[in-house]
């Protein structure tokens, strides 16, 4: 980091006065490059050949628009430009490499990419040469006029809709996994076509990151965040509507709905875990086991032919019972162990997770009582059915749109996520939630102020387990199987990573983290074997560069960013913890 600073100050001292012309020239060249063809052959997807920008070219073009900031002295502009220009360069270089690789050599890249490359380089240099921002971008309010409320509402709705749009576009970029269907995990070499498709997704992802980075650094994201807080009801309604209409945008494609439903389960579990980890500060490394308890219970009483119990409970009862049983497990595990210090709790929950996995793996009648079919798990779980005779396994048509049966499960997941989110938000602002935060920050002080720490910790733990149980029971019906392989330590780690990547203690964060972590492996199959490696490295990098997560709660952000926030004997000297990018 320090070397970057030195390099930047050198660029600044030499080129400072020319920052504006260099940057603008670069952005202009970049934009011109986007209207020239980037490849000399047909076959690379994303409209690289003709003169209308599409795919990566469109993204780069949009990023070049940030160059307007060279002209106005907007607070935070220098940081915003540094970020966006760098991303524009990265996308350009990546696309150049992909086009060259797919076409058999860089000579097959069109003239446009080289123009854009030169432009992007100048853009980066210009942005680096800008003087440092004098002040961070403030939160801005609209002028107080008669139309203010209306505009604010529209902005909030627009934010929710564009979030849906980003998700739909991202999901809609075809990748190898879509073509291959549900068996995609079985491996097999990926073709050149997959690679080029996935490069599209990668560029889109980078573009979204860059745009968010740019907008957040000039303060627009924070301003919008303040607005959504002010009009939270509108925001909730708009977000819910966006989520509900999503299946209608998919043109009857069941696969993307299935992914969306899986994201829903993953997100619901992540939010539940966020209560335990984010609010109460209890590190639970075996959370997936509670999810598994719910899933196995639902599978056992689903009337599946592979279940040893020959019962078929109504689904509403199953969810309640599964949640209750998971909660009881949570209490049984938590009651004796929650007196322990945090790290011990982590290891005990990890142990519990392993015990659960080993137990369901063994209860196959040979090493133990016959209950779970051992490694094969309980499969062929039937589709859900409502008392009115409505089966979740049927396709149907609504408002003239054909909806595949996955839409039913998707909507069920939307309800689940909504319930879990409500629970989280209500709890977080309640007396209980504040007590949890107090315990997380300083258990001794919390106890001294009269908080019954053990009981409240137990409550958080049991509540997290209950939500996981409910999510698990639904998931058993969505994936139609409950097998030990789905409940390994890695799954717990992934959930935890989703919470931390998104930002501990915020519900949007857990949602975002779950979406990103679920979607990335689905979409970036060209990484294939390296996926987990990249995942591990990303975990390390996030902790170094943005330990408070993508959408941090205010309190947590301060904790990580302010010098002396984590006053500690071995703490780095103040200022070193400050990360500059």
């Amino acid at each position: 980091m320090i070397y970057l600073e030195i390099a930047r100050s050198r660029v600044r001292s030499k080129l400072g006065p020319f920052a504006l012309p260099i940057g603008l020239l670069g952005a202009l060249l970049l934009a011109i490059g986007c209207f020239l063809p980037w490849s000399t052959y047909a076959g690379f997807p994303g409209k690289m050949l003709n003169s209308t920008p599409g795919g990566a070219r469109l993204y780069v073009l949009l990023l070049s628009l940030f160059a307007v900031l060279f002209l106005v002295d907007w607070p935070g502009r220098s940081k915003a430009l540094r970020g966006t220009s760098l991303f524009a360069l990265i996308i350009t270089v990546l696309t150049m490499l992909f086009v060259g690789y797919a076409g058999g050599g860089l000579v097959n890249c069109g003239i446009g990419v080289f123009v854009a490359l030169v432009g992007a380089l100048l853009y980066v240099v210009g942005a680096q040469a800008l003087p440092e921002d004098s002040a961070p971008a403030p939160i801005r309010n609209l002028p107080d006029r008669g139309w203010r409320t209306l505009v604010e509402t529209l902005l909030v709705v627009g934010a929710a809709v564009s979030a849906l749009l980003v998700f739909v576009i991202g999901l809609g970029i075809p990748t190898a996994s879509v073509a291959e269907g549900p068996d995609r995990r079985l491996g097999g070499a990926i073709s050149l076509n997959d690679l080029t498709n996935e490069s599209q997704f990668l560029c889109f992802l980078l573009f979204v990151c860059a745009a968010m980075l740019g907008l957040s650094r000039i303060g627009l994201v924070a301003s919008l965040g303040a607005l959504t807080k002010k009009h939270s009801r509108v925001m909730v309604a708009a977000a819910l509507m966006s989520a509900v209409v999503f299946p209608f945008t998919q043109g009857g494609d069941g696969y993307s709905l299935r992914i969306a439903a899986s994201i829903g389960v993953f997100a619901a579990a992540a939010i539940g875990l966020n209560i335990v980890v984010g609010l109460a500060g209890l590190l639970d490394l075996g959370y997936i086991a509670f999810f598994g308890v719910g899933a196995y219970f639902a599978a056992l009483v689903s009337g599946s032919v592979t279940s040893v119990l020959d019962v078929d409970l109504p689904f509403a009862l199953t969810i309640v019972l599964a949640a209750a049983i998971s909660g009881i497990f949570g209490i049984l595990l938590g009651a004796p162990t929650l007196r322990l210090r945090g790290d011990y709790l982590a290891i005990v929950t990890l142990g519990f997770g392993e015990i659960f996995r080993i137990t369901v793996n063994n209860l196959d009648g040979s090493a133990g009582p016959s209950l779970t079919n051992g490694p094969n798990g309980i499969s062929n779980i039937p589709d859900l059915a409502l008392p009115g005779g409505f089966s979740f396994g049927d396709n149907h048509t609504l408002f003239g749109v054909d909806l595949p049966f996955q839409a039913n499960y998707y909507w069920l997941e939307v309800i689940l996520v909504a319930v879990v989110m409500t629970a989280f938000l209500r709890l977080a602002e309640s007396r209980i939630g504040r007590a949890w935060v107090a315990i997380r920050e300083d258990e001794l002080a919390a106890a001294a102020t009269g908080i019954n720490t053990t009981r409240l910790k137990l409550l958080a733990f049991a509540l997290g387990a209950t939500l996981a149980g409910a999510a698990g029971s639904i998931n058993a019906h969505v994936v139609k199987v409950a097998a030990p392989d789905s409940f390994t330590f890695l799954e717990s780690a992934l959930l935890l990573a989703a919470v931390i990547l998104g930002g501990m203690g915020t519900v949007q964060g857990a949602l975002l983290g779950a979406t990103v972590l679920y979607l990335l492996p689905e979409k970036l199959r060209f990484l294939q074997d390296l996926r987990l490696l990249v995942f591990g490295i990303v975990l390390v990098l996030i902790m170094r560069l943005r330990p408070e997560g993508l959408v941090p709660s205010k309190r947590r952000q301060r904790e990580f960013r302010e010098p002396g926030g984590g006053a500690d004997a071995l703490a780095a000297p103040p200022g070193r913890a400050e990360v500059s990018t």
Partner: protein, 307 residues
């Protein structure tokens, strides 16, 4: 009775491995209060380092030469990785809240496993480890109770390693500085101790012992696997907690206790919960029971008082 004694021997062998790895956990935790999840991977890398060294040695190298060379190779890999890990993953997070380095450790652990799986030749499945010490050769202890040569070697090197570490920590200047840092880092620093260097020392010592365990593991089972560090690592941490974290004799005691419990439970647990399929579950059950009734471990913990 013979069966019991035989299982006792097996338990001691298993416990020796756990103890060796647990020492690395306990030293690091005692000083920086970090559960270094990646320590299991350091153990695994020690095994792979030893294997690599063996493969580069000319064919026909006598065992007496090959074994120390392999140990040095394994230690070199383990120590290098551990030092790099401390420098680039953990040290920047010193001031951060407790969860941050734990997540980092998780990430490092996954990354190291995947690096070996993807980039070590043919390591996607277990790789054959040379059986330099003949496992068929058994030494009778009493009656029908015997111990195979690699197992005996494991116990011997483990005990030597533990004694060496213990005397290092107790007698040497650096060792005493380690104790001081673990007790009170602030005061230790005021006394002129370079705490950064002490922390690195703890990582280096832990990694060396883990490499020793990795070599022993390879010799005993005739194979090394990129996955082998994970479960053993968790169990070794369990052992460290069992003995009282931060406590060096505790880690050794915890290791042997855990090994014995695991072996005995496999043999004597009530049906149907006996047998190899349940042994890992028993290890964790014991952990939970111990933590409930004696949260500071068997010998009590020794962690610097800042929580």
């Amino acid at each position: 009775m013979d069966l019991f004694l035989q299982q006792l021997v097996n338990g001691v062998v298993l416990g020796a491995t756990y103890g060796l790895i647990a020492l690395g956990y306990t030293m690091v935790y005692g000083i920086v209060q970090l559960i270094n999840f990646a320590h299991g991977e350091i153990f695994m890398l020690g095994g792979f380092g030893a294997l690599t060294t063996y493969l580069t040695l000319p064919a026909g190298t006598p065992t007496a030469v090959a074994l120390p060379m392999m140990l040095m190779g394994g230690m070199f890999v383990s120590v290098t990785v551990a030092v790099l890990m401390e420098r680039f993953a953990y040290r920047p997070l010193r001031g951060a809240p407790r969860l941050a380095p734990l997540i980092t450790a998780l990430g490092v652990s996954i990354a190291l496993q995947e690096i070996v799986r993807n980039f070590y030749p043919n390591a996607k499945t277990a790789r054959v480890f040379p059986q330099l010490v003949d496992p068929q050769q058994r030494f009778t202890i009493v009656g029908d109770v015997s111990i195979s040569a690699p197992n005996l070697l494991t116990v011997v090197v483990a005990v030597v390693g533990m004694v060496a570490l213990s005397s290092f920590v107790r007698r040497s200047r650096t060792g005493r500085a380690m104790q001081a840092t673990a007790q009170d880092p602030d005061t230790a620093r005021l006394m002129g101790i370079n705490t950064d260097r002490i922390i690195v020392t703890a990582f280096v010592l832990g990694a060396s012992l883990a490499a020793l365990a990795g070599l022993a593991h390879g010799l005993r089972f005739g194979q090394v696997d990129f996955r082998m560090g994970f479960l053993i690592g968790i169990k070794a941490f369990t052992a460290a907690v069992l003995g009282g974290i931060g406590n060096i004799s505790g880690a050794v005691l915890g290791g042997f206790t855990l090994g014995l419990v695991e072996v005995m439970a496999t043999q004597y647990a009530p049906e149907p919960f006996a047998g190899g399929a349940w042994k890992d579950a028993w290890a964790f059950v014991v952990l939970i029971i111990v933590l409930v009734f004696r949260p500071t471990g068997l010998l009590g913990e020794r962690v610097s008082a800042r929580a």
